[in-house]
Symmetry: C2
Subunit: 376 residues, 2 copies
């Protein structure tokens, strides 16, 4: 056993049953030999440029053990048996990571500001386009934390919405094109392209992978009506979990089919309305009354499902849950389509309301945000 004092803490390193054992001020941290070897970052284990792992699990001895562990300043040096490989680890990292539960996952509800009522995100914050171009981080962080951000003063050039997407990521092209026009069309293949009111919904739930971000850019809006609305689906699901756990359980465990057919597209996806991650955290909402196909269930289960669906819908449709605003020329809304529902009130075809929309993905946005945070 090797002992020393670091930052006034008494630390021992020893080997117990072939695993590393660290004792810090009496508290014990045990680290499996195979995990340690897998985490080794020396030159033969990781690529110097990319940091990628160079070996496979099958390259390691199946009977790997820690033969010896010794403290060296703020590091611990480990020798493995039977292969004699030596690795050095920072003590602080080993002590900090004693089974963190659950894993950090920015795609889940974890660490986000869930807003159950619109008043929590009112008055609306907006970001001037010029400021955004100088530093996009504040707006992008809002997309992660609140699920949306509003840019103002975006040039009202047609096609500009894809330029906005390209400031942080990449356009997800679909059968609707690289961008789509939201205005009144004759014989619309989708109700979005009519003047009808559209109740809160997530887009393209029939697509898999679903677009994780949507952008809506207003070129002009002189119509009466056509107000925009946003609802936090994660917050509604969290409230359902709290107040009606049975409904929450049904909606997280019952898969439904979402389906869309047009002359040139046949799309379907099978998913529950609320998806959870392995740790039980809310991860994705799909909610769309227009395209959901509920499977035939035995009558008792069908009644239970529809009761749960109604309970969730009532929360999502509650007037106080919906953040309402008027998108004017030059406004561009960016929102998380796996979390927020969006809606609009009815508007008259005459007068003119013309938005352009596009889809993009959260991976690019999160990457850009991390890059900007790093360089500050």
């Amino acid at each position: 056993m090797y002992s020393q004092v670091i930052e006034k803490r008494a630390i021992d390193a020893s080997v117990v049953d072939g695993d590393l054992r660290l004792a810090v001020d009496g508290a014990v941290v045990e680290v499996a030999a195979v995990w340690l070897r897998d985490a080794c970052t020396d030159a033969v284990s990781r690529d110097a440029v990319s940091g990628q792992r160079l070996f496979n699990i099958v390259d390691l001895p199946a009977d790997l053990l820690v033969r010896e562990a010794r403290l060296r300043g703020d590091r611990v040096e480990v020798e493995f048996a039977p292969d004699g490989h030596r690795s050095t680890f920072e003590l602080a990292a080993l002590l900090a990571a004693d089974e963190p539960a659950p894993l950090t996952d920015s795609r889940t509800e974890q660490g986000k500001h869930l807003w159950r009522t619109a008043s929590e995100v009112s008055p609306l914050i907006s970001h001037d386009w010029a400021d955004y171009l100088t530093d996009p981080a504040p707006a992008l962080r809002e997309v992660v934390e609140r699920g949306f951000a509003l840019l103002r003063g975006v040039p009202t050039e047609p096609g500009q919405v894809t330029t906005v997407a390209e400031t942080f990521g990449f356009v997800r092209e679909t059968n609707y094109g690289r961008l789509f026009d939201v205005r009144v069309e004759e014989n619309a293949v989708n109700l979005a392209f009519t003047g009808l009111a559209i109740s809160p919904h997530t887009d393209n739930p029939y697509r898999d992978p679903v677009p994780t971000l949507q952008l809506l850019h207003c070129l002009h809006n002189a119509s009466v009506g056509g107000e925009s609305g946003l609802v936090d689906g994660f917050a509604a699901a969290a409230a359902l979990r709290e107040h009606d756990p049975r409904a929450f359980e049904i909606l997280t465990t019952t898969a439904v089919t979402y389906r869309f057919d047009s002359p040139d597209a046949h799309l379907s996806a099978v998913m529950p309305l609320i998806s959870l991650d392995q740790a039980g955290r809310i991860r994705e909402i799909r909610f769309n009354n227009r395209s959901m196909v509920v499977p035939r269930l035995h009558p008792a289960r069908a009644r239970e499902f529809y009761r749960a669906y109604r309970a969730f819908a009532e929360r999502l449709y509650a007037p106080e849950a919906q953040l309402n605003f008027h998108l004017g020329a030059g406004d561009c809304l960016i929102f998380d389509n796996t979390r927020l529902l969006h809606a609009r009130t009815a508007f008259a075809a005459a007068g003119g309301r013309h938005l352009q929309g596009t889809y993009a993905d959260l991976d690019g946005l999160l990457s850009t945000l991390e890059t900007h945070q790093e360089t500050r």
Copy 2:
């Protein structure tokens, strides 16, 4: 109760506890009133052009019942209470759909040809580019059923790989670009861009949504080595479930982090190695020794996880599991990146091997396949 004989079957329609009850040759099919109403496709319930549902669950009476049901030829006419709404349904559809379990989902292992050994898909089928352009359905169907298709005689113009993707869907642009060059690079940010052997893996597991399809187009390949390999991850997972159910359970329930960092990208995703759908079917494989970060687990769990990981890896790396072939100039491989692992042997930088790759998504491919099947 209304009775009649259709296709020599004796059918009765009645109402029991407010639900529809159909008796066919003595066997009983019960259909919940609320499901029936939700499935109604009349002009006030569905848009005539798009077929999209026009009402919300909260628009329906919470105490909805079937008041009366009567047979009309091959249809059943239903009157609901309390609102008096009337709907007509095809009897055949109602009788066919008595709780189908599980839902059809072409993203899962369901209905696919899982190949546990390469011999099951040898000799390799290929599709001539000209034939493919005339009728892409046979090749696209192979991507769905076997996880891959090989096109031959694709023009060896740089950038052609995105044209191939656009025959059935849309390019998924990423930080690697709309397409990426696979050839030896100095100071490669990714081991893919070196001459090193790459063991079987799925691409971009650190991305969410992960690209569901990958295309690799060979512009020239004069190098010694650099053979391509494919392994069916669904088949290996199914074999693990059969022979080592404990390992399968651990890999489907333990989330790991996949992580990639380069100067311009920071990507991470939290997922298990094997993802299942709600019905327990295999739905997605993420397997990449280079980028997987296993969380700290208590030593006993860590040992169990690594034992399971090794058992899965041994199946994936088994020589008989891997389909090997040489991609020559004009060959283009399309494969399902949520199911198949791909690999290559080492090759010398000299001589020259130049592939171009791109990502795309299964939703577009499945839609195009359905459109072509429909029009035949």
